[in-house]
Amino acid sequence: MFRLSKKIPSVCTDDPLSKNEVSRKMTLMRQILISSFGPNGRLKQVHNNVGGPVLTTSTSSSLLQALRSTDPLLKLINASILNHLSRFSDCGLYVGILCLSLISNVQRSGLRPSVAISLNQYLLGLCTSYLKQEDCGCKVNIDFGSSQNLVTLARSVISSKPACVLTEKEQRHISTLVVHAFLLTVPFGDTSETVRLGRIVRVCIEGQSVLDSAVFQGLLVDAPDMLLPSTGVERTRLGSGPFRLALFTVSLSGDLSVLGDGSLEVHRGSPDPEDIVLDQLLRLGEQVVRDQVDVFMCQRVIHPVLQHFLRRNGVLVVERLGVALIEPIVQMTGAQAVAVYQTPVPPEAYGQVKEVCVRKVGLKEMLHLMPCGEPALCTMVISHRNETMLNELKSACQKVEYVLRLTLRDPAALLGGGCTETHLAAYCRSKGSNGAAQTASSMAVSQSEFLLGLNAFCLSLEAVSLALEHDGGASFIDLTHAHCWSVPSDWVPQWGEGVDAPDTCRCGLVERSTQPAQGVKREWTLLNTRYPPFIPASWVQDSSSVPLVKDTNPLVKDTSHLVKDTNPLVEDTSHLVKDTNPLVKDTYPLVKDTNPLVKDTNPLVKDTTHLVMDTTHLVKDTIPLVKDTTPLVKDTNPLVKDTTLLVKDTNPLVKDTSHLVKETTPLVEDNTYKPRVLDSFTAKLNALQVAVETANLILDIRYIIQDVN
């Protein structure tokens, strides 16, 4: 029997933006996003209507997953924000706020959509090209020789998540840790074209203080208490020395493999199929023991009889690793994950670990596997007092990691705290109003339309800065650098003298006390008022502000030189084979370079002595080389080897810089200035583009046709 249902015609909505319902929903969405923006943002409690788990958050990624709207336009915006987040993981709320503000500002200005779109596109181009300029006033170049900017960047992301409930000290601790972990994932001394970044494995522990969070090299693996070796025999085996490791992803629980359709008939007298499987497993065990495997790991369950057999032979057995840990283990140990147990394990499938020990993390005992070589892999233990805050902290750390990776691609950061937006707005206003008539005619719009569009765009940028203020305070802009200043609500400003202005602007770069120029007083105006267009001055790094802008730590600086120095060294080795004469010259500067290092850095002394020793070898070797030229090519080979050793030796030295991160932080603390707030350059630049383009797309939509069948 067929049942025919009448087809309902599609619903067509004309000019959707003019509908009341749509604009109400957009305003609501904008209010939600604005209220969760920034370090003082309010949290949102998300749960479903049947009493599921409650999520308390202000993070864009979790919030936007929950904010599913029925409106197609909002769905579009939501999707483009989530898409941006999946690529850059940061600045999600920023995209939403800017996009929705731009739409509402354009609507309020009464511009025709087509005009507004072309103007937005032009202004977006103006902004992006300005941001990409070298002398951009709101960009800070990140020097990887110094950890300060990286830590600031990390801290800016973490502090913008109020649901983490962190104190100043905890914020500093966590951001330093994340930067430390990030540095551990960057491989050093790799001269090949493609550099593969390592990974950070996160272990979350609830109920401990945040200050108990830590970073370990290698992997921490959960092992149930019963499984941990307790007898003396096994403990001694867990000494040092590389251990051979076997890794299985297939279940070794002794299950019969799936029989397919039909059933299996077993006749009396014939062996039990379960016993046959167990025999197979034990054969595997015998092979593993024969191959002198020390650590036996399996993603799933291992049959107790096999476990018993392996343990009796002194093998450390770890079962139920879970799928998430398999790839890091493969990456760290070089083992291949074996997916069958019926055939013997090929010898190349075994991996190696340098050290295995039992480490107490929180209340849990975990197995700590140390890598043999130096694969860039580390474990970050994140602990917090309760689950909600722990989840938020975990996602924040993930974001920081991603943001730091983005800086590798583009070593720059933008000023945070809304200063970039006010700066950009001031720049657009000055650029736009300067040649307004000319630009307008070239774009085939009237001058008044151009100015309206410009105003709408700049107001939207400023709306993002304003969104950071949640407690009724006022936001101001100074008329020299166009930075954003915030003032608490209960405070009466006396702008004439500029006496009671806050000490610094929101990003912490511009100070009240410094004079913008000789004889010029700093002036401020409320952020959402009109001000005369001016070209915002970029922040000049004069000598008075050295502690703030430049790195204060000579130690880190030196090591950064060192990192740079190793590169020409590696390059030189390629020339080495060709002509030996400049070789001796080349080695001398090397020794020279290390000398200041020895003076400067106490913790580095050990490593540098190695370096110096090696270079003396190098110098020794070169002397016979110069004397007799006949075995030239032969002799250079060990020489090249030596230099590679040299390069390797510099690695621990470079690695030490990651430890130095800890030492630099007290130095940062010494600054009496407020720490700066930085945002990821790549993420924000893309966020800007996504926001404006999404807004343009929405403005461009004339009809919505919905199939309601």
Partner: protein, 447 residues
């Protein structure tokens, strides 16, 4: 839980920072689900405060289960102080009779980490459902699969002279009976931690399947003796047996009560007591209990408020950002006052109003010197309780009540965390609702 809700107080800059952001009116207006639930829980938790035993009878209507809850620390009456080192278990009369024969000689033990039955499979093993066992002729003489298994395990046990089998799961009744016939005691439902201790002290290796047992899995040096006979008329005979090893870290505490419903509550009390002791030893210092610490905190806060007030007046205002600070500090003081007042109310010594008066009186007296007021402490403690007279410790030392320092600080910290999260939340987002259903509700906005 009361601590979570009411003691929102630390002289921490952070509190002020958060509270500063809220104006008074907003705090009162805001009443989303989280806050409502907290208030409700706080109200219930009030009656848990203090040393008076106020049992809560909790009943689950759907299952009909019920249990008794209370918080207090008078467990000593119910603990049998004759308990000894080792593991005390209850055995049936038949098994216990074997113990009589076994005493005064050390016996051998095996540990089974699973069930002691033929049907048992380890966790993670999927028993295939589509396997059929087919016989071509009926053989009535041969043993069944289960019998073969029993025979095999029993032979292994007897060959190794095992006298005691500790099983973490359940043991099949038939096999246990057979073991009794061969002088082997089987103890079921032994906790994994206890198995581990026996593994460490006797050298036995825990196995999952009894068929895995071999000579090297057997542990030695276990003493087993009858501890006490609990068999009475009309009840199932059960005899407590102590299983001990040298260097064992196990201690068994026997809690007894003539009311069955109280047993669980008693166990909870025991553990809370044990943890208190543990933390006290770990911290190596204590806080004064019975509201004394809170009283000092109030005193400190009040001085702080006064000091600040004078300072700002001296400067002539203009100290921005801290307008709400005093107000918040005052709220904290009130929170603590309420805590102590509830404590006194629950002790039955006075009404809430007179409690507040007393506290204020004591705060005035405290000015200057910070001495422990024994009278005050006694008011908080149960004075009118009959038990008190019988218990020499409490009668002799009035006012000797202490709290764990780190536990209390942690509780404050956790309470603060919760307050931060709840107060900073301004919107509740409910997902998965059909928009048509909520149109009538005016306070809900649909996105």
């Amino acid at each position: 839980m009361y601590e979570m809700t009411k003691r929102i107080s630390l002289t921490n800059g952070e509190v002020v920072k958060v509270f500063k952001e809220m104006e008074g009116s907003i705090i009162n207006q805001r009443c989303h689900t989280g806050l409502q639930e907290l208030t409700a829980m706080g109200a219930v938790a009030h009656s848990f405060l203090g040393p008076n035993i106020k049992h809560k009878f909790i009943q689950d209507e759907s299952t009909g289960e019920s249990f008794l809850v209370c918080t207090c620390f008078r467990v000593v009456d119910h603990i049998d102080l004759a308990s000894s080192i080792g593991c005390v278990v209850l055995l049936s009369a038949e098994q216990a009779s074997l113990v009589h024969h076994m005493k005064e000689r050390s016996c051998k033990v095996v540990l089974i980490n699973g069930d002691l039955s033929e049907k048992y499979c380890h966790l993670g093993f999927n028993k295939p459902t589509d396997v059929r066992y087919v016989a071509d002729k009926l053989d009535l003489k041969s043993l069944s699969k289960g019998e073969v298994w029993e025979e095999k395990v029993l032979t292994t046990l007897l060959n190794n002279n095992v006298n005691l089998v500790l099983v973490s799961g359940e043991a099949s009744e038939r096999f246990t009976q057979r073991c009794v016939g061969h002088c082997i005691v089987v103890v079921e439902r032994v906790k994994p931690a206890i198995l581990k201790d026996f593994a460490d002290t006797t050298g036995a290796v825990p196995v999952t399947y009894a068929t895995q047992l071999s000579k090297r899995c057997v542990g030695i040096g276990v003493d087993i003796s009858v501890w006490r006979d609990f068999s009475g008329n009309g009840r199932r005979a059960s005899i407590a047996v102590n299983i001990a090893t040298d260097h064992s870290a196990l201690v068994t505490v026997v809690l007894s009560s003539n009311v069955q419903a109280k047993l669980q509550a008693l166990e909870d009390q025991f553990w809370s007591c044990a943890y208190r002791l543990h933390h006290a030893l770990k911290d190596k210092k204590l806080l004064r209990g019975a509201g004394m610490t809170e009283l000092l905190c109030i005193h400190h806060l009040q001085k702080h408020i006064e000091g600040r007030g004078q300072k700002t007046r001296g400067q002539g205002g203009a100290c921005f950002g801290n307008v709400h600070r005093d107000y918040v500090l005052h709220l904290m003081v009130e929170g603590w006052m309420d805590y102590i007042a509830t404590l006194m109310l629950n002790s039955g010594t006075c009404s809430k109003v007179s409690a507040w008066t007393t506290i204020n009186q004591h705060l005035r007296d405290l000015n200057g010197e910070l001495s422990v007021d024994a009278v005050f402490s006694r008011m908080v403690l149960r004075d009118d309780n009959e038990n008190c007279v019988n218990s020499p410790e409490i009668r002799l030392s009035p006012g000797r009540v202490y709290d764990n320092i780190n536990v209390k600080l942690e509780a404050w910290r956790k309470a603060l965390d919760l307050v931060f999260l709840v107060l900073q939340t301004d919107t509740e987002i409910i997902t998965g609702i059909d928009p048509k259903q909520v149109d009538s509700q005016s306070h809900v906005l649909v996105l």
